[in-house]
């Protein structure tokens, strides 16, 4: 049986397209890993410039030994009340420091990263902000990154 073919024929129904998979293999054990944090939750130092709640593709650097009381959130896309009570809800820096002390991981990356996710200029995030943060993490020999987003 032969089927009729129409070049370029496509469904009129919108079909969401999931991007091609990306995958970096894990080569070390957790106890030997330096872990970084990257969060889309809009976390930054209280002394830093706030994110523009109407849309912002910039990011903020957070040194690994920052006190959690010196951190805050500016993000217009979710209910901030939990994270205002305890930054660890979205940025578990105290928990990671405890895990490093206990030897579960080797340590934290020297710098963690906060940005304001949840939409906005996706192109800028994909082409600029994302690669910039990725390069910085690579330059600092970070072994793996834990993220909060979505």
């Amino acid at each position: 049986m032969s089927l009729k073919k129409y070049d370029g024929l496509q469904s009129e129904i919108y079909v969401p397209i999931t991007p091609q998979p990306v995958w970096a293999p894990v080569t070390k054990e957790l106890k030997d890993m330096k872990i970084g944090i990257a969060t889309a939750a809009g976390v930054h130092l209280k002394s830093d410039k706030r994110f523009n709640l109407a849309g912002d593709t910039s990011y903020r650097e957070i040194p690994w030994d920052t006190k959690s009381d010196d951190l805050m959130v500016s993000h217009g896309g979710y209910d901030n009340s939990d994270v205002n009570k305890d930054i660890n809800c979205m940025f578990p820096i105290d928990r990671l420091r405890e895990l490093a002390k206990a030897g579960f991981i080797k340590g934290l990356a020297p710098v963690e990263y906060g940005f304001m996710g949840g939409g906005g200029d996706i192109e800028a995030f994909t082409d600029k902000t994302g690669p910039e943060i990725a390069q910085k993490l690579k330059a600092e020999d970070v072994d793996a990154v834990i993220m909060t987003a979505g």
Binding site: P16, T18, P19, Q20, P21, V22, W23, A24, P25, V26, E29, L30, M33, I35, G36, A38, A40, A41, Y78, D79, N80, S81, D82, V83, K85, D86, N88, C89, M90, F91, P92, R95, L96, E98, L99, F104, I105, F115, G117, F125, T126, T129, G130, P131, I133, A134, Q135, L137, K138, V142, D143, A144, V145, I146, M147, T148, A149, G150
Partner: protein, 81 residues
């Protein structure tokens, strides 16, 4: 962001409150505790829950062997709105 970091060879894992969104965006590795958006890593000041979520999430780095998996985690926090 997760994909950008993964593309330079650094493995990543994401704690998600909205697993369908994460799946749609092509996250390579994710965990999903039962939490509201804004408390992905657990209830405020609940050190035990937060430690559990972070530990179990990191452990998945050693366990997962192919992209696109979202692992449910047995923690639940319902925010009082």
């Amino acid at each position: 962001m997760q994909r950008a970091i993964e593309s330079v060879g650094i493995p990543t894992i994401l704690i998600a409150a909205l697993p369908p969104v994460v799946r749609q965006n092509g996250s390579p590795r994710a965990t999903a505790p039962r939490v509201p958006m804004g408390a992905n890593a657990g209830e405020p000041h609940n050190v035990e829950m937060q430690t559990g979520i972070v530990k179990d999430t990191l452990k998945q780095l050693e366990i997962l062997d192919s992209p696109g998996k979202i692992v449910p985690l047995p923690y639940e926090y319902i925010a009082k709105v």
